[in-house]
Symmetry: D2
Subunit: 367 residues, 4 copies
């Protein structure tokens, strides 16, 4: 069941609302002996933190994580790790208007229809603030992965913002951390900044595509038929607020290819491991990792809270208009980059543990 | 854990390999009192059955389902329903070559790397034959939905085959069942037939996009944050063999829209229920159904088994070539249409039961 | 998987250690609209609270619960409820000795052998303090049950303390709350007080049997074959610290009966519901509730921390002796009474929700 | 959810009714590479098989198991193993009477009240025939354990039949297989035979206590707080038909002991592993195995189907009498012995896999 839980062995349950006293992640199943402290998790939270530049919400949240359990003398003990982030800048008065009106594109109306009660302040449970808890859990997952399989690298970046897509020929890993959009191209960063400035000033917003790549993943992770690695990645990414599409490797474009163009040919590498002519598969065949880079992409819809008048209804069913003031991201996809990385980390760790559980060490050698 | 289980309350565990004696679905959690017999399930299996036209594998399988448990005097009893399909046309001799060689684009190599043992006959567990069990379970799910919420309709169709996409202006629901591609356009059906004939004769294959729409879904299904309806749909579709991308509503294109174009405005309908100006959301907001049509799309990669020479390696690590003879679909996406419908049915039923469990009847009224 | 999670639809994940900053319960799946506030939960915590009389540990913990999420304007919203209890009286210095030595009868040695690291302060995760989180969750479960099925009453009491067993002829429900042992017999309360005083002064401890009865439970809760109501109750009670045996109805004594003595005969009651000649079954047949009282019993072993010299070993494998000073309960069974009630409440709520999910309202009428 | 599924990584879903065409177990999560064939599983089924002597039901079922999936060339492949047993001797005509009347002590009435429909033939899903599927799964679990941890031995035996309890002084392991009661005492076997003959002739029945011991279990299996080894064992045993009580180690009697009598003192063994002065704990401390023998006991109530007139009601609510003719065990506890062993095997394997998943190899060394 576990509506608010993600994962099978490394299980993350997030809790909390945008304007409650705190939110967090209850993490069960983490291996013992993983070196961890609050600073190591804070590092990742700081990347997602709002208010860092003019392209993200101006809500000022320090997003300081506290480890309340499961860690002793700097290491995980194997018992549940409680990661709590207190809300400090809640400004509930900003949100009085939406108690009665449903914002188009938001979960206001569906939460109401489902539960008959909703914490409307800042979107309550459906707020993107929930993703802070995911990033915290992802920070822990990264350290656990490091302890199990050295050399794994998980990197997210934007490949599209609205009308603008990156030029793969200009892809530069080193640029990703150098601009507010995590775009792997210095030139694009400039163009995008101008573009988003325009949208922001006009009170509009825009969608984005984020790609997350994991390098150094061993072959053999994942499991048929419903525990496939790509199945779990698709669920992980689709569960992020505002995501409307998920792709593995070639993704939707695979539909346009012929068999001979799509299937990656296999060769023997010099290190005795298989190598592939290409990676249309995104590192996954039959739901199980090949050892190539894992490549996942997801689309984030434009922020629904915009400064333009929209038609909607009230709780009592009357037609009305709404302009969503308050503090919002013109492109919520920006802050989805660290969230996508975090979900990738959680899924990989979960599958590392499950594989070790069922199979032990990889068994099938080639050659 | 449950690698081979899908769902939370309506739980489907599939089992079986392509060339074993049988395969099937163990279905737990079905409501009692649902009228069902083998014919009602057979109806859906017949739609997926191979060998029905020249565009699908020539393997001759009657795909006859037997209900071994959980049904008494024509109704479900609330105990597990075992749906078994015996394999009859296995022709193992066809597959001798692939015992040693890994077919590019197939799960051969990853199963080997994961488990160190694999049933290579016809792809074993990773064969598309597994989807017959899903269709059987989906047939049961459809009847259970009918008993709970009359009027739900679930329809899948192809919107793209390789280079060809449908023209939405010519969309005709009545055409879907009238051609081998489940394409909602008689003219496209002809063009596609010619196109696929060409590919088939050249020993090639091609990918496809399938869209599945569910009408008549009540508002309020789904649950934050990891039990979202779209999360479960994404997992369900991505778990189907050869799927590489999943979209809800606007899907990947949502990234290209601005907020004012994307968010569906809300009005009050004459029947006292909300109506929307559009359905970019695909019927889901914040992971919960709005009452609009659920719209899911997924991309199926081209069949990897093609009659062209491909480079690969053997189990002992030697370079070699492979041509996959045998009986294969030039566009495996065709038979994915009933599978996508079945997965949609299973997810909807599961969420109907979970909603009823946690919330009872819908509680939030508007107006 | 979910090592620290209990339940299927009403899911309780507890977290925290005896001497960390806090502990708590993350509760997922609670129905929306349940009236709740901190006082209503505190009521039950106060019953379990240590230091209330000379028979329980002298650790002074206010055990004040804070609701951090999932409640809005006095009602549950259907999203996760975080119940946090801060630790205030930790006195870590008391526990220095046990960092190196394993206390006989405690989890010290097995946690070490499993994880290679343990928070030894006060028993860490294996401390009975964890049960405070269960009681908090149970308090919420009670309110949710009340909203679903009015009239359910869950009452626990002691039926044995060491050598002393209650005399069923003298059973008096009104006495249960009138003495520190929750024993339904004023006379026994006096005898037991004297008996336990003696044990306490000699630095010894003693075991107990607790019986928990639930009245007003509708027929039809529970599910074959592994989701039986008695299976879940057995797991719930056995998961409480120090419990070594669980019985339903006649329990272990059922082995001594003949069929004609054991099987409860069925009659038709005046209210059109079945009545039974007796309740050897403890209210459960075939894993499903009959509508009679649910009767569960469990045995709690004597506190292992005693003021007597015991042989043990150190982490480095050397033989040594240990006397466990510190603050301990001479009969930990006393405080297990509210814990047993809480677990009963959680199991009943979980099954109410699951039954409603799969079946809706009870379907099988008699007569 | 998974009402009919048991286990977390090694997951067993049983299906089927007493008088349907077949029943079986769908086993997911089994490690790959375990040598197995039908004969190895049949060996255990033959021990449970009815009709072997005059003390068990005279129904003639060969209980022949067929492996339908998950095994290739004599080894498990890591995919689901379907174990099917066809019903052959169903004699439905014997059961016509119970279509309308509820048998006291049986699940007839509760299934009806829950589901509003029931397969009354032979008890349907609640028949003890379901346990054949458990024994088949347990046979597979035993082989998988063998592959992971050589030297584990799981042995069940009866310690009580009605009024007769074994004398521990006369305990003889070699006798267990030498008599129809699996009692570890040749003399008791004779007395019990006479006793049960008397009961059988008078149309009565009697309860039993079964003890299952597992030797050679490594320390460190199990997990706090709800995934305890004893929690899972309690659930496993309580889920067996007719079980009313479960004990670990000292069990219910622990309530009568003082702390100094109960807590097992710890010493260092010559092999560098801890040894204990006694095993009151039954091999489990804090939910985690100590490396001592695991000792579990459970009580089975007397068969409710007896040849004596009992008061009951009909579906339409009328008072009536019933005598349950047909083929029944005078002491159903006899056939529960192999079932208890099978459940023990499943739980141990599950915990071996979970431990390996979360922790890898045991980490905490002593000395």
């Amino acid at each position: 069941m576990s509506f608010n839980t993600f994962g099978r062995m490394f299980r993350v349950t997030t809790w909390g609302e945008s304007h409650g006293p705190a939110l967090g992640a209850t993490v069960d199943g983490c291996p013992p002996g993983v070196p961890i402290d609050e600073g190591m998790i804070q590092h990742w939270l700081d990347r997602r933190k709002p208010g860092q530049n003019k392209y993200t919400t101006q809500r000022r949240e320090p997003d300081e994580v506290k480890i309340l359990s499961g860690v002793f003398e700097g290491q995980t003990t194997g018992t549940p790790v409680q990661l709590m982030i207190e809300n400090t800048d809640q400004r509930s008065k900003d949100y009085g208007d939406i108690a009665e009106k449903f914002r188009p594109g938001h979960a206001d109306i569906t939460y109401w229809q489902k539960y008959g009660i909703r914490d409307y302040r800042g979107g309550g449970r459906s707020s993107a603030r929930e993703t802070a808890a995911r990033v915290a859990a992802g920070g822990l997952a990264r350290e656990a992965i490091k302890a199990l399989v050295p050399g794994v690298e998980i990197t997210g970046y934007m490949t599209r913002m609205g009308a603008h897509e990156i030029d793969r020929e200009r892809f530069d890993w080193d640029q990703i951390d150098q601009n507010p959009f995590w775009v792997p191209d210095a030139q694009a960063a400039e163009t995008w900044a101008e573009y988003l400035d325009g949208l922001r000033k006009s009170g509009s917003s825009v969608g984005a595509v984020i790609e997350v790549v994991a390098k150094g993943i061993p072959a053999g992770l994942g499991a048929p038929v419903y525990g496939k690695l790509d199945t779990d990645l698709a669920a992980a990414m689709m569960s992020i607020n505002a995501v409307k599409g998920v792709e593995i490797g070639e993704g939707m474009s695979a539909a346009m290819l012929t068999g001979e163009l799509n299937a990656d040919e296999i060769f023997m590498g010099n290190d005795g491991k298989p190598v592939y002519s290409s990676n249309h598969a995104g590192g996954i065949l039959g739901g199980i990792s090949t050892g190539q880079d894992l490549v996942v992409r997801f689309a984030v819809k434009p922020t629904s809270s915009i400064l333009q008048t929209r038609q909607t209804i009230t709780k009592s069913g009357e037609a009305t208009e709404i302009i969503t003031k308050g503090r919002h991201d013109p492109c919520v996809g920006i802050r989805a980059v660290p969230v996508g990385e975090a979900m990738m980390a959680c899924v990989i760790l979960d599958h590392l543990l499950m594989h070790r559980g069922q199979v032990g060490e990889n068994r099938g050698q080639i050659g």
